[in-house]
Amino acid sequence: MIDGIIGLYIFMLAAFTGYEVIARVPVILHTPLMSGSNFVHGIVLVGAMVALGQASSTLGTAIGFIGVVLAAGNAVGGYVVTERMLAMFKASGEKKR
């Protein structure tokens, strides 16, 4: 489906995209953004689901299960803490509470 050279194209374009998207981020957002990108790589969940779904041996199933638990933790935890941090940023003029 994604053969070698096409994969490299995707890789290169995605790498530039990642760089450009955050190239001008102000310092005040560094921590939330790190947390946000941490959430985004929680997409590993879909891979872990496929790995567990394909596993047939006991060992493979066990490792796959752990993988899905970890990946779900990455995705959900990453979302919750990012959302909590960003919810606190108030624009000037906006009143807290």
């Binding site: 995707i10 946000g36 929680g42 779904g53 752990i66 990946a71």
Partner: protein, 466 residues
């Protein structure tokens, strides 16, 4: 159990949804990089994740184990939800490290499942699985160590002679074992186990010697590495969403790591391969002068009649949970017509931007908060610089003492203010263990005490001023 759709249609649907997910992720990150749109950014990315997760149940590659998948998602998701909702803002950096480590571990687990399955793969695919597994496992164990250190579970930075050599050896042996797997020279399960054991050990020995002050840079680096590992496993599984999202995080995370290292005036190599914090602490010149204490009542009068006060908060303020009191004091001073600004060093708190999060939590609007470039010229016109819980980031030796380990680090020029008040628990040193010359200056006074109690006293003192 088979999918109700034909495999071709299911695959098309899954891939189309992954495209939508990739779009939502990139737009979400873009929106997260501006304060005005940041809140909606994470929601966009969240929808992307939800779409991808749900549609993956239709993926034709999944042959069974549906119940196990759902169970695992609930276990991991609920645990993370529960901890994520409860964690204090001060502990955010180590929590990010923990969740990031879980992602790395998941990438390594995918690699392990694929390698143990041992179905014939092309060498290139197995190589990517091995490489992603190595990076993911290093990120997993390394992030756990980083978590342990920031959480205070691991107190000491373990260093011994020849540590770099041992790390290098581990890398080489792990790569050789990986090469054996990739080239199918010895494809027994044992070598896969040895390979992952080595990778996990490498993450531990790499992270243990790094001092707490450098930990944010390391966490950011592991974040980028996890992204890369996810992308590599995405190639193995032919999964475009993982390739795109993983690569985007890999490169964005690398840039973020560089920005952080630059803010601390440290190169990445320096962080990873030199022990800073404990080992270098003995270096640096002796400081002349004495520490001069002051009472809260006197500080109250001084601030009440000041034109301009600049508050320099540090991590110590957050640990003492004093940020709410500081905001109360600020409002009191502003009612009296005093101009108050907050000066934030790029690495104040435990990570760049962490202090902004902590002040935002207390309700400080962000137009009162200035970063280093904005505020440094203003210290000369400030009557009072109130240092609360900050130390190394206001140490003038970074400007003028070449022998100091923090020489060259950009600092806040609090020493240029007419009066400097330092709220400090005791006479200890900063995170880097370096004596602070600012505390010994003629215009500096020390207000000893717990941050929260000291600021409460200041509030009373300012209120007492007619």
């Amino acid at each position: 159990m088979t999918s109700p759709l034909s495999p071709q249609l299911a695959a098309l649907l899954v891939n189309a949804s992954y495209l939508l997910t990739a779009f939502l992720f990139i737009m979400g990150l873009k929106r997260m990089s501006s304060p005005r749109t940041a809140k909606s950014g994470v929601v966009w990315a969240g929808w992307g994740m939800l779409v991808a997760t749900l549609i993956t149940f239709l993926a034709p590659q999944i042959a069974g184990n549906y119940l196990l998948i759902v169970t695992a998602i609930f276990i991991g998701g609920l645990l993370a939800w529960w901890t994520g909702k409860r964690v204090a803002m001060t502990d955010m950096p180590q929590m990010i490290a923990l969740y990031n480590g879980m992602g790395g571990g998941a990438a390594a687990a995918i690699a392990a499942v694929e390698l143990f399955r041992g179905e014939t793969h092309a060498t290139a695919t197995v190589s990517l699985a091995v490489l992603g597994g190595l990076i993911g496992a290093v990120s997993f164990s390394g992030s756990l160590i980083a978590f342990g250190k920031l959480q205070g579970l691991i107190k000491r930075s373990l260093r011994f002679r020849g540590q770099q050599a041992i790390n290098l050896m581990l890398v080489v042996v792990a790569l050789v074992a990986g090469g054996f797997i990739a080239l199918d020279i010895n494809s027994s399960a044992n070598i896969v186990i040895v390979f992952f054991g080595l990778a996990l050990a490498l993450g531990i020995t790499m992270t243990l010697p790094i001092g707490g002050a450098d930990m944010p840079v390391v966490i950011s680096l592991y974040n980028a590495l996890t992204g890369l590992a996810v992308a590599f496993e995405g190639f193995v599984l032919n999964n475009a969403a993982m390739i795109i999202a993983g690569t985007v995080v890999g490169s964005a995370g690398t840039l973020l790591t560089q920005l952080m290292a630059k803010a601390m005036n440290r190169s990445l190599g320096n962080v990873l391969f030199s022990g800073f914090g404990e080992a270098a602490a003995v270096a640096g010149g002796e400081v002349q002068g004495s520490l001069k204490p002051i009472e809260a009542a006197d500080v109250g009068v001084m601030m009440a009649f000041a034109q301009k006060v600049i508050v320099v908060p540090g991590y110590g303020m957050a640990v003492a949970q004093a940020q709410h009191k500081v905001w109360e004091l600020t409002q009191l001073l502003m009612e009296r017509g005093v101009t108050v600004r907050f000066a934030i060093h790029p690495v104040a708190g435990r990570m760049p931007g962490h202090m902004n999060v902590l002040l935002a939590e207390a309700g400080v609007p962000y137009d009162l908060i200035a970063d280093l470039e904005e505020i440094n010229a203003e210290f000369e016109t400030a009557d009072v610089a109130l240092i609360i819980g900050a130390n190394d980031v206001v140490n003038p030796v970074a400007r003028n003492d070449r022998s100091s380990p923090i020489y060259g680090m950009p600092i806040l020029n609090a020493d240029k203010a007419k009066n400097v008040i330092v709220i400090k628990r005791g006479q200890g040193q900063g995170f880097s263990g370096i004596e602070n010359a600012l505390f010994y200056l003629d215009q500096t006074r020390m207000l000893y005490g717990d941050g929260q109690a000291a600021v409460s006293q200041l509030i009373q003192a300012v209120k007492a001023v007619e």
